[in-house]
């Protein structure tokens, strides 16, 4: 190794110092808002501004579950986002495999179409989507009421398209599907065909091939696709705002938003505790997704 001239090493030390300084400032900028949520959620007399708690307490967290419907919101969020994530993983696993392996003429147009679908902003789609789901919902309600009469109402809570679990799961899944399909297609592109061809030679059927060969091989790709779908759907506010209205179906973002709107009785400790509960699964998922971040984005760069 060549010796470094003293002037050059001083120069290097100075740029390292500059790097430390910039990164420290940007990190403080990134981290400060999180300190407030954490500290205020543990403060018995929380305020809207950042401060060291006057008295440490867990009562804010207790109140989220005892005086508010925190448990219900958490359950709804987990059910709805979990359902959408599972659906995305199944559809993208199968679809991504097909997109990677097919030699048909529709392959390239379809890949372009999926990229284009990905850029359509959900905010511009919700208006027509609301009309579509409203129509489907009315048809379903009429049908169910003719069959079950008044008992149709609780069924609609699960299977309804507007203000029902099924509708929001399908909508959330549809919005996350294009990226997931792309991740899985890229993943299968990098997977050698030898295993499948061996299985094919052994006369395995499509289902056997999927179960014994593809699912085990595709697990890393499916994990990445699932994590990204989960994070995006978990953090989304627009879709539950528009497609859920009854209190029994409220999810965490709606609960947090509406609790904040109760202007005259703002309880910052409670809000911060609720925000922290809502934040935690997202941060955990992000921690797991970290090692896929570069791959997913870099894969985007290379195509």
């Amino acid at each position: 190794m060549a010796a470094i001239a003293p002037a050059e090493s001083a120069n290097k030390g100075r740029s390292d110092l500059l790097a430390y300084a910039t990164l420290s400032i940007i990190s403080i900028f990134c981290a400060i808002p999180f300190f407030w949520v954490l500290l205020a959620s543990l403060d018995g007399d929380a305020q809207l501004f950042l401060r060291w708690p006057a008295q440490w307490t867990l009562s804010n967290y207790a109140r989220v579950f005892l005086t508010e419907d925190g448990a219900k919101w958490l359950f709804n969020s987990l059910l709805v986002v979990g359902g959408a994530t599972l659906l995305v993983m199944i559809l993208a696993g199968l679809g991504g495999y097909a997109l990677s392996r097919t030699r048909a003429s529709w392959k390239l147009p379809l890949l372009y179409a999926i990229l284009l679908v990905r850029v359509l902003p959900p905010t511009a789609l919700v208006v027509p989507l609301y009309k579509v789901l409203l129509t489907l919902n009315n048809v379903e309600a009429t049908f169910l009421r003719s069959l079950f009469g008044e008992t149709a109402r609780p069924i609609m809570r699960w299977t309804g398209f507007i203000d029902g679990y099924l509708g929001i799961i399908l909508v959330l899944a549809a919005m996350q599907l294009p990226l997931a399909l792309w991740i899985m297609k890229t993943f299968f592109d990098g997977l050698p065909r030898d295993y499948e061809e061996a299985a094919l030679m052994d006369g395995a059927s499509l289902l056997q091939r999927i179960r014994r060969v593809l699912i085990p091989l595709a697990l890393p790709g499916l994990t990445a696709a699932g994590l990204f779908a989960f994070m995006a759907a978990w953090g989304d506010f627009l879709l539950p705002l528009i497609f859920l209205s009854s209190p029994e179906l409220q999810t965490l973002p709606l609960g947090l938003f509406r609790a904040f709107l109760r202007v005259n009785t703002i309880d910052y400790g409670l809000l911060a505790a609720l925000a922290f509960i809502y934040l935690l699964p997202a941060v955990i998922a992000f921690g797991f997704a970290r090692r896929f971040l570069v791959q997913t984005f870099a894969g985007g760069v290379k195509g």
């Binding site: 740029s15 500059l18 910039t22 990164l23 420290s24 940007i26 990190s27 990134c30 400060i32 808002p33 999180f34 407030w36 949520v37 205020a40 305020q47 809207l48 501004f49 559809l91 993208a92 097909a98 997109l99 392996r101 097919t102 390239l108 890949l111 990229l115 284009l116 850029v119 359509l120 902003p121 959900p122 905010t123 511009a124 208006v127 989507l129 009309k131 579509v132 549809a174 919005m175 599907l177 294009p178 953090g235 989304d236 506010f237 627009l238 705002l241 973002p253 947090l256 809000l271 925000a275 809502y278 997202a282 941060v283 992000f286 971040l293 984005f297 870099a298 985007g300 760069v301 195509g303």
Partner: protein, 295 residues
């Protein structure tokens, strides 16, 4: 011949496993996108006569939109928002972070974890955290920080609403820019820098003559991705300001929401949505080209 038949069978099976995805995307994305064009020519509404018997009204929604100062305002706000946060804020800070983190310094993992954190915060939580940073006058966290530099405290979110949502969205998106630009930087071979250093190039010269030109494809792709995703931002700003005060932060996404679900004018909301879809598709065509799809 047998080989060919077999291949046909495989292709059919592949199409079958792809069909559920295509069905979901057609029903919930593509059909609604096309349907919004139809809706934009009707007086469809959630209440009143438009709800009972919607009819075609020709170009009336578009004529109204053309003369609607609130619509033009929302487009302008969106443009400044995208320019300030995605094109300038996130890009500059993301590039600075990516270049600083390339150096073999200690604590790299900790720095990058902290910078990634805002990206994980759900929209409403991010908005709520920033309300605490910006509201509360002299007690607000931002007021106390800038007080150290002799700046007067202010009601930030009401006095500088657009600048503040740009700051917040920059905060949220540094990570995306950093990741993409890091990937781009890593494709530049270090020999080029070595050679330039031998020739006595200064760091500024190397940045302008080597880093920037070689990064151009990555930068272009980043700009397209972040522009498209920034146009779609809704929850973060809605939780912070709900478009106020006085429309100062009414992004076009918030305008669509207000027209459709607060004023119940679905037909008119759809006309605004069509304009946004056209803008997104134009950017999307550039994005598809920049991706250089491999089959």
């Amino acid at each position: 011949m047998g080989r060919n038949l077999h291949e046909q069978r495989v292709e059919r099976q592949l199409l079958i496993v792809l069909l559920p995805s295509l069905a979901l995307l057609s029903a919930f994305v593509i059909y609604p996108a096309l349907y919004s064009v139809y809706l934009s020519f009707t007086n469809e509404a959630l209440v009143g006569p438009g709800a009972l018997a919607p009819r075609l009204v020709g170009l009336r929604n578009y004529a109204r939109l053309f003369n609607d100062t609130k619509f033009w305002n929302s487009l302008l706000v969106t443009f400044v928002f995208v320019l300030g946060s995605a094109v300038i804020g996130q890009f500059v800070l993301g590039l600075v972070c990516a270049m600083a983190l390339r150096r073999p310094i200690r604590l790299r993992r900790i720095f990058s974890s902290i910078i990634l954190l805002p990206n994980a915060a759900p929209e409403v939580v991010a908005g709520f955290m920033w309300i605490s940073m910006l509201s509360g006058g002299e007690h607000a966290t931002l007021s106390r920080i800038v007080a150290a530099f002799g700046v007067e405290p202010a009601d930030w979110l009401n006095t500088f609403p657009l600048a503040m949502i740009i700051v917040v969205n920059t905060w949220r998106g540094i990570a995306t820019a950093m990741i993409l630009l890091t990937a781009g930087l890593s494709t530049i071979p270090s020999e080029i820098y070595e050679a330039a250093r031998m020739d006595g190039a200064t760091p500024q010269q190397m940045f302008r003559r080597i880093t920037l030109p070689l990064m151009m494809p990555t930068i272009l792709l980043y700009m397209l991705i972040s522009a498209v995703s920034t146009i779609a931002v809704f929850g973060l700003v809605y939780a912070l300001t709900r478009g106020g005060p006085g429309g100062a932060t009414e992004l076009v996404s918030i305008y669509i929401y207000n027209q459709s679900f607060a004023a119940y004018q679905l037909g008119y909301g759809a006309a605004v949505a069509v304009i946004v879809l056209i803008i997104a598709l134009l950017l999307g065509v550039g994005y598809v080209k920049a991706m250089k799809v491999e089959i």
